[in-house]
């Protein structure tokens, strides 16, 4: 059933990472993603792995959830590994047959890239595991608010994003309802050629559009009735506040980045 698709992947919890200010989490996640890319040798990468593993442990998100986020990229991982093994040349040759050869550099690059991608995915999915979509859009709104001087309506954009996220499950339910109603009137959605199928979608698409517009109007009225006038002068129920934990996290991340730079300088570059 369509309803089984979960949107967002927030994993409820009360860990330090869950309680951190979403703005700090967002900024640090970006910083650490950059950090993964500046690693140039295994020592620096190892530091990143240690960082990622400790972050996972701190978040108390179960390991199987983390593995679930890696699962969809397994093919990409395999592809990258194969490409790197066969196309990067240099160093000692381990294996050679016809035009294909496997060299030391190839193997190293392959391992390095795979670990790098895994770390990337783990770090970014930790952000979504520990932060609800609403908190994330809130954080984006706050972080982008300096753009107001260019007359960009940051609040409006964030509100649109929040509403869009909020209505995805509602729309999925609605589609299911309409599909059932039309199927009950004998609509055939499964058979026929491409054109026939596209035509068969009309009885589902039109009611969906109509009800979406109706919903949008109703929502707009409801918001107006509650005196919504946009972002100006609007206060928040959940104040975002940087706490000690956020600054400690900041310092830790800075330390890791510094460590990576130092390790990059002291050991030979392999990628």
């Amino acid at each position: 059933m369509i309803r089984d698709i979960t949107f967002g992947q927030y994993y409820p919890g009360k860990s330090v990472l869950h309680r951190m200010d979403p703005r700090m989490k967002l900024v640090l996640t970006f910083a650490m993603i950059v950090a993964v890319f500046i690693c140039h040798n295994f020592y620096a990468l190892a530091l990143m792995v240690v960082f990622a593993v400790s972050a996972v442990l701190l978040s108390r998100v179960p390991l199987r959830m983390i593995l679930k986020s890696i699962k969809p990229i397994l093919i990409i991982l395999a592809f990258t590994a194969v490409l790197n093994i066969f196309y990067t040349k240099g160093g000692a040759t381990y294996f050679e047959w016809w035009k294909i050869s496997v060299t030391e550099k190839g193997v190293n690059t392959a391992i390095f890239t795979v670990i790098r991608i895994i770390v990337l995915v783990v770090i970014s999915s930790l952000l979504t595991y520990t932060t609800t979509p609403t908190m994330l859009t809130d954080a984006i709104e706050r972080l982008l608010s300096p753009l107001k001087i260019f007359h960009i309506k940051v609040h409006t954009l964030a509100m649109m994003m929040t509403l869009a996220l909020r209505f995805i499950p509602t729309l999925i339910e609605e589609i299911e309802r309409i599909m059932n109603a039309q199927k009950a009137r004998g609509a055939d959605l499964e058979s026929g050629g491409l054109i026939h199928r596209a035509k068969a979608l009309v009885p589902i698409f039109i009611p969906l559009m109509v009800s979406s517009f109706r919903r949008a109007y109703e929502l707009a009225f409801a918001m107006t009735c509650r005196c919504y006038t946009g972002g100006n002068g609007r206060t928040r129920m959940k104040q975002m506040k940087l706490r000690a934990a956020d600054f400690i996290a900041l310092l830790l991340c800075l330390a890791v980045i510094a460590g990576i730079i130092v390790l990059n300088i002291f050991f030979t570059r392999i990628i």
């Binding site: 059933m1 059932n180 009137r185 004998g186």
Partner: protein, 288 residues
């Protein structure tokens, strides 16, 4: 003897095979006789809508079998499609299914899917529209220009135009004012009288069902908790209360009067009948 709708040991699970599997129906056995008007009542989440979605094969049972008109709905596509036309299902808030440019076009959607000849479709559209009380001049309008009550009628006409042997209506009067509600219910009684079809009416309102149903099925927690005539069901008001259901207000008044020692019947489902009986009792007493 075959039944228009028969369910044998039907169970249905949502998200079957996953840790969040939920049993929506548990071992349901049900026979609906030809020409019956069956009311299905139950609390929200008792499995009413899941149950009726089995009648036309929209949902396939996880266990057990559904037999429509003597034919087991297996997994054969053709049998399933045929069942859609034999059992006309009209969901809650059916106005959400309107989509055509004209009301007539929308009512014709079902019959068109049945691949009927054009003149037959035309006559069925007119017949169904007349039945639900849609004025002919409305037929060429866009369904989105109709009022709420008219949209509901148009949508119900869309199902009636398929002339199903079994007409299943899920909360046909939901969200309508009392006048509109009574009109819809009267329309269903009239339709059945004229066509003699079998009808199933789902509702959580006892009042709606009490006055028109021959037989009432009470759903609770995915099982059939009670099955009997209106009188039989309402005589078990204490049990109904435990299931979060209530007998009609007027019936409650008469049950209470009886408890207080008055000699009154308890099978009173409409205010009119109640008033009549009360008037009679008061009239019998000589004024002081």
């Amino acid at each position: 003897m075959t039944y228009p709708v028969e369910l044998r040991n039907v169970s249905f699970y949502y998200s079957a095979g996953t840790p969040i599997q939920v049993a929506a129906l548990k071992n349901i056995n049900l026979k609906i006789g030809r020409g019956e008007l069956v009311g299905i009542i139950g609390h929200t989440g008792s499995g009413k809508s899941t149950l009726i979605s089995h009648f036309n094969g929209l949902l396939r049972p996880s266990e057990g079998s559904v037999i429509i008109d003597g034919e087991d709905l297996g997994n054969d596509k053709e049998t399933l499609r045929a069942a859609r036309f034999k059992v006309g299902l009209c969901f809650q808030y059916p106005e959400a299914q309107l989509f055509e440019e004209t009301v007539a076009g929308d009512i014709a959607f079902g019959p068109k899917n049945m691949k009927l000849p054009n003149d037959e479709i035309q006559s069925r559209v007119l017949k169904a529209a007349e039945f639900v009380g849609l004025r002919p001049e409305l037929l060429d309008k866009s369904p989105f220009d109709l009022s709420g009550g008219e949209k509901r009628r148009a949508a119900i006409a869309g199902v009636m135009a398929m002339e199903p042997e079994v007409l299943v209506l899920d909360e046909p009067a939901a969200g309508l004012d009392p006048g509109g509600k009574n009109e819809i219910l009267a329309m269903i009684t009239e339709y059945r009288k004229r066509t003699g079809c079998t009808a199933v009416l789902v509702s959580h309102s006892m009042e709606d069902i009490a006055n028109i149903a021959d037989r009432v099925i009470v759903m609770n927690g995915g099982t059939i908790a009670m099955d009997g005539t209106v009188n039989e069901i309402f005589s078990r008001s204490a049990e109904l209360k435990n299931m979060g259901l209530n007998v009609p207000e007027i019936t409650r008044i008469f049950i209470r009067l009886r408890e207080l020692g008055y000699d009154v019947p308890t099978d009173v489902y409409s205010v009119e009948k109640g008033a009549e009986i009360l008037r009679e009792i008061i009239g019998r007493r000589s004024p002081l």
